[in-house]
Point group: C2
Chain length 365, copies 2
């Protein structure tokens, strides 16, 4: 069984292969040949002094290649107020200040475990790859200016991925902390070799942008409705970065997945399954009543798999405002990219092998 | 991070500690200090020639000790007809004919992965431990004769576990294959040091039995209603081994968990969650309509956690027929026994250590 680290994965993964593997996975999903188990989050509020413990997992399987991926996160979470916004911080508490996110890959032919690796690099490539795949169907063919909000891990993958689906000639960037946005601009210029312009006020990002991306850790609105001009394509890593008014400005809308909220299991709330995206209030207030979840108005929008399969059309005119809500992760993204990375690592001899036999058993489970 | 194998786990686990850890877990569940994510099964019908691929997982977390366990099975399944009964076989296809079932244990204090080990030994001890824990509250205090159906992996743990909660003086045993039942009787006599009598016809097991256990791989009825005498306690590893008529004979009924069916995700059935216990027909027939699930009449029965917490009474008289349906597994059983085995292994220096750092990451996932 193969063990890889994030550096090895970073050296193996590419924009082109990521897009190809993801497209193939969504096309299998549309054909009924892929399957996923939606994300669940399990909360234990009283086990750690640093915050709240949360165990997140999701699964996905493909017929071709025959693999199943389980992705898990074992996190200590803290919700913090920063510059008037609530952000969710994952506190690195493992080992000497690290995080725990893993992908386990299994053969769906023999059942055998194939690989274990950290999720960090694949996590951001799959989010950005999914946004970019949607942009392939929804952004204008001649989109050349990319506007991006955020300068973190997710934003850093969105820039090259968007450059993989459109001929981007300039990037405009805003993020609240000056030092962060300047460091990020330099890093991106090196990476995608197009000029990256840092702006001082958020709304300036939208000026002339053909594609607008919110890839932040904010859980409140980042892109205002009045910033959207005819012809723009707008996307996000969480629907709250757009908010209802911004989303309603779109003439054409698609979402990643109609199962839009994780299923949460919270100690103190009995055996109930609670559908919310960030159960910050519930966890902080302790046991009590759970407000009924109002499905958002966009929940019946077409899914990415429908765009990929061609059962719904993409952009129809240069005037349309289009929007893709990358609303929740799917295990099958990890199966798609995980299988690609695994095959590549095996063929190139990258990673450490541990005896597969350690993870097998000769008693009927 | 610690890696253990089944032999090591077998050497560490005991009837007494298993019962203690399980009892503590159910008591935390009753207090709202434990949490679980119900079992899900993900099916890919076209990835293997030997049967159908199924990925099963469940999770559970405790506040004391602060741990979360993920239990997974990566199986190739075949449903077979044998002696008029449908049985579900897991085909050992991994490596040189082995199975894949794993428990991953995490600290809910730091998030750190603590251990990975195969699930086989713990799997049977937690099923049998749960049945025995229920028998502690429901069987007659003076129960001395144990009748058991089955001679396999599950049956083999039920005999010592039941001996852990009542002073069992004799065991009566039936299983369809003569060679199996004789081998099993010898093995159990050595293990629990009480006489084990093999019978030729199933109904003879019930003669004079104070506790009746079905621990088979049958998915049809094993214990007939007319076999139950006043004062008996009857239990099973799947409700279908008893069937409605046998269960209805009970004066007092408890179940393991009210979430009684796994949530299945089947390729070819869209993104639907399908509640059935063994989706044999659905998987074999391919995509199509899913019959609505009728909740069984016993779904509102008290749960084991209520018995453990004392919020519902156990047996009230020597005449009552009592029944415990060990109807579905819970991740928190794996957290309870996994944490116990892990602590014991660490203190005794058992197992192989691999660098925890392989499973950590320095990028925000």
């Amino acid at each position: 069984m193969l063990i890889l680290n994030n550096d090895e994965i970073e050296s193996l993964i590419s924009v082109e292969t990521s897009l190809r593997f993801l497209e193939k996975a969504y096309s299998q999903q549309a054909e009924g040949r892929a399957v996923y188990r939606p994300r669940t989050d399990l909360y234990l509020p009283e086990t750690t002094r640093s915050g709240v413990y949360a165990f997140k997992s999701m699964e996905g399987g493909l017929t071709d290649p025959p693999v199943v991926a389980l992705r898990l996160n074992s996190n200590v979470i803290r919700w913090e107020e920063r510059e008037g916004r609530t952000i969710k911080r994952k506190i690195p508490q493992a080992g000497s200040g690290k995080w725990v996110g893993l992908i386990l890959l299994f053969s769906a032919e023999t059942g055998e475990p194939l690989a274990i690796f950290p999720d960090g690099v694949i996590q951001r490539w799959r989010v950005a790859g999914t946004s970019a795949l949607a942009a392939r169907y929804l952004a204008r063919e001649n989109a050349a200016t990319l506007g991006i909000f955020g300068s973190g891990w997710q934003a850093g993958a969105h820039v090259p991925m968007m450059c993989g689906v459109r001929t981007i000639k300039r990037v405009r960037l805003y993020s609240p902390t000056k030092a962060n946005r300047e460091r990020f601009a330099e890093e991106m210029e090196r990476k995608v070799r197009v000029p990256v312009e840092v702006v001082e006020r958020a709304e300036e990002v939208a000026d002339g942008a053909d594609i607008l991306v919110a890839a932040t850790n904010a859980i409140t609105r980042v892109i205002e409705p009045q910033w959207l001009r005819p012809g723009v394509h707008v996307t996000c890593v969480k629907d709250c970065e757009l908010g209802e008014e911004t989303i309603r400005r779109a003439d054409r809308l698609a979402i990643h997945c109609r199962r839009f909220a994780p299923l949460n299991y919270i100690a103190g709330f009995g055996d109930r399954e609670i559908e919310v995206h960030d159960p910050v209030d519930l966890v902080q207030q302790g046991s009590g009543s759970v407000p009924p979840l109002e499905p958002p108005f966009w929940v019946s929008a077409p899914e990415l798999k429908d765009l990929v399969a061609g059962t719904i059309p993409g952009r129809k005119s240069d005037k349309e405002i289009t929007c893709f809500i990358n609303n929740i992760g799917l295990g099958l993204q990890f199966a798609a990219l995980g299988a690609g990375v695994y095959a590549d690592a095996k063929s190139k001899g990258v990673g450490r092998e541990v005896p597969t036999d350690w993870f097998l058993e000769s008693v009927h489970p």
